[in-house]
């Protein structure tokens, strides 16, 4: 230890004289290291975002150069009934799927945090569905939730329950998709589990000595200490569910009627089925602003419900 420290000191001494050039060199090297990201930031993010805003002010069908429209695309959105439908569908789904998904993930994490025999097997079982997404989920659940031939309704009928027309009833179908999204709650659970395991055991013991029961320990210790993770999960959840696409494209095609006309599905059709790139860009910008708005609200109000530990807690 002592020798390591002294050699460090010597290193520091040796570097002192050409200090400016040394730190400049390090900065230059650092910029070389981050150059892929900087380049990507310009090429894949800032450039396209500006371009996207420009397109949104034009009529652009890919075959001809963009034609200037001003804000006509945005005005058109106000009178387009499908925009309202898409926003309602997407908003409802987000409002259901994000809170329920967060609660489900948290409950599973609490369950998986129990120190009982065989818990590793259960961790794997709960996580496995998260390895499967998109196409496979859509295909498998189309069969499972089939109204007449599906195994879900068959099991329900055995229990004396008349199962709904999961994918064919416009009043039910969004709930079906929410239910399916809960099947992937294991991925969130793993993150919550890591957070739970980071809560110092000593806090629980102190609370126990003070006579706190399980619920009070959970509410006054666990929840505050993992609240930053909850917030992270809610924000990424909102951003993700607002952009739901694959499941509606593959399973319901936006139907029945327009019951699952997700915003991104409508945008996709405008852009890639009807080549209305200008209008689709306006749609994209509005969704972008909506997501930004909710993200900022969550971040701004976070001081009210997220507990941040004071700095200086060592690992």
């Amino acid at each position: 230890m002592a020798s390591a420290q002294s050699s460090l000191a010597v290193g520091g001494m040796a570097r002192r004289r050409p200090f400016m050039t040394q730190s400049r060199r390090e900065a230059l090297v650092a910029y070389l290291f981050i150059s892929p990201w900087l380049l990507g930031l310009v090429l894949f993010l800032i450039g396209p975002i500006i371009l996207s805003f420009y397109f949104s002010l034009t009529k652009y069908t890919l075959v001809k150069a963009p034609e200037w429209l001003g804000f006509a695309n945005y005005e058109r959105m106000l009178t387009d009934p499908f925009v309202g439908i898409a926003l309602r569908v997407t908003g409802t789904y987000t409002l259901l799927a994000v809170p329920l998904g967060t609660i489900a993930s948290l409950l599973i994490a609490l369950l998986l945090n129990q120190k009982v025999f065989g818990i590793r097997v259960f961790r794997t079982i709960f996580y496995m569905p998260s390895l499967i997404s998109g196409v496979a989920v859509a295909i498998v659940f189309s069969w499972l939730f089939s109204h007449r031939l599906g195994i879900v309704n068959f099991i329900l009928s055995r229990l004396g329950i008349q199962g709904p027309n999961w994918l064919g009833d416009p009043n039910v179908v969004l709930w079906t998709l929410v239910l399916m999204s809960l099947w992937g709650a294991g991925s969130g659970a793993v993150i919550f589990l890591a957070a739970l395991q980071g809560v110092p055991q000593s806090l629980y013991e102190a609370a126990e000595l003070d006579g706190a029961g399980s619920f009070r320990k959970f509410w006054h210790i666990t929840i505050p200490l993992i609240s930053p993770v909850i917030m992270f999960s809610v924000i990424t959840g909102v951003i993700g569910t607002f952009q739901t696409f694959t499941i509606s494209y593959l399973m319901t095609g936006g139907g029945p009627g327009y019951a699952t006309l997700f915003y991104l599905l409508y945008l996709y059709r405008n852009a890639f089925s009807w080549f209305e790139m200008g209008y689709a860009s306006a749609l994209a910008w509005v969704l972008f602003l909506i997501i930004l708005f909710f993200t900022l609200i969550l971040l701004r109000t976070s001081s009210l419900w997220v507990y941040y530990e004071s700095a200086g807690r060592g690992r």
Binding site: G40, F55, M128, F154, W183, V190, F232, F288
Partner: protein, 298 residues
């Protein structure tokens, strides 16, 4: 960590004092926990088991009522049948290629960028890191159309460039996770190496990367799964059916004569999912370790 080991003795003495009443309560708790674990576990695993079991059911099983959980007769021929209906092997290779390139690019670029953010000093570091964090919150939808237009202008639609290029430019989320991990590695290692005359790239390549294997494995798996399961990207960029990735191919199967067959769809779905599951089991040890240490938790 130190806290936990320290508190262990006091906890066990506390526990050994318990009364019969407490033992009954603990037993009830155990039953409750196992009941929930098993009940929910069955709900979670059942769709997977049903998929595999349906993949070996005879033709026509999908239209039969009541639906069977187990096949009446095991038909393995559904699997080769899928290969005959669509160029499954080709799609598999396409997907493997795209995912491998994407994972390689992401691991290389993200670790380079993360290394600088975690271990080098440079002006603007904090501001740039904030920019990086805010790009994580940026919905991809807003860049989708211009990116398509750019790739189309470059004549690169119907190639794998649009599906893989982004990975080489330090995807923000992976950079963030790796940076968190790199921060946990003792800085004295770098200092000592510098004294020995090692330059930054060598420190990155020979000291930091080998130590970061769990984090790299975790990010590699996430990146692989994202690329393997990606549906919208290939849907937008690939129209030549020979170039299809497996995600498109499995859906494409449904449009063929006989593609509506439950058994074929489930055989295809099973083969689509298996690589992710195998990879997960290989890297499972690292993933749990990686999620805990990358500070994904916060």
């Amino acid at each position: 960590m130190a806290v936990v080991t320290q508190s262990q003795p006091s906890r066990s003495t506390y526990r050994t004092q318990h009364s019969p009443q407490r033992m009954v309560r603990d037993a009830l708790r155990l039953i409750f926990v196992y009941g929930l674990l098993i009940g929910l576990g069955i709900l979670f695993i059942l769709p997977l088991l049903w998929t595999v079991s349906s993949s070996v059911k005879p033709i026509g099983s999908g239209a039969r009522f009541p639906p069977e959980f187990l096949p009446t007769q095991i038909v393995l021929d559904n699997y080769p049948q899928v290969f005959r209906m669509i160029p499954f092997a080709r799609y598999f290779v396409n997907s493997a290629f795209v995912s491998t390139v994407a994972v390689t690019g992401e691991l290389l670029s993200a670790s380079l960028v993360a290394f600088a953010f975690a271990r080098l000093r440079f002006p603007g570091r904090n501001i740039l890191f904030l920019v990086l964090l805010s790009t994580m919150m940026l919905p991809g939808v807003v860049t989708m159309i211009p990116q398509f237009v750019i790739w189309k202008t470059l004549g690169l639609v119907n190639t794998y460039a649009p599906l893989t290029a982004g990975a080489f430019f330090g995807p923000a989320f992976s950079v963030f996770l790796l940076r968190q991990f790199f921060l946990t590695i003792n800085l004295e290692l770098d200092e000592a190496a510098k004294v020995d005359g090692a330059h930054e790239f060598r420190i990155y390549w020979q000291i930091i990367l080998p130590l970061a294997k769990p984090a790299l494995a975790t990010i590699g798996i996430f990146s692989f799964m994202a690329s393997w399961n990606d549906f919208m990207g290939p849907l937008i960029y690939l129209s030549d059916t020979d170039l299809y990735t497996l995600a498109l191919g499995v859906n494409y199967l449904r449009s063929f004569r006989g593609g509506g067959e439950l058994s074929y769809q489930m055989a295809a779905a099973t083969m689509f999912v298996v690589p992710c599951i195998i990879l997960y089991f290989i890297a499972q040890r690292y993933i749990i370790q990686g999620i805990v240490t990358t500070g994904l938790k916060g």
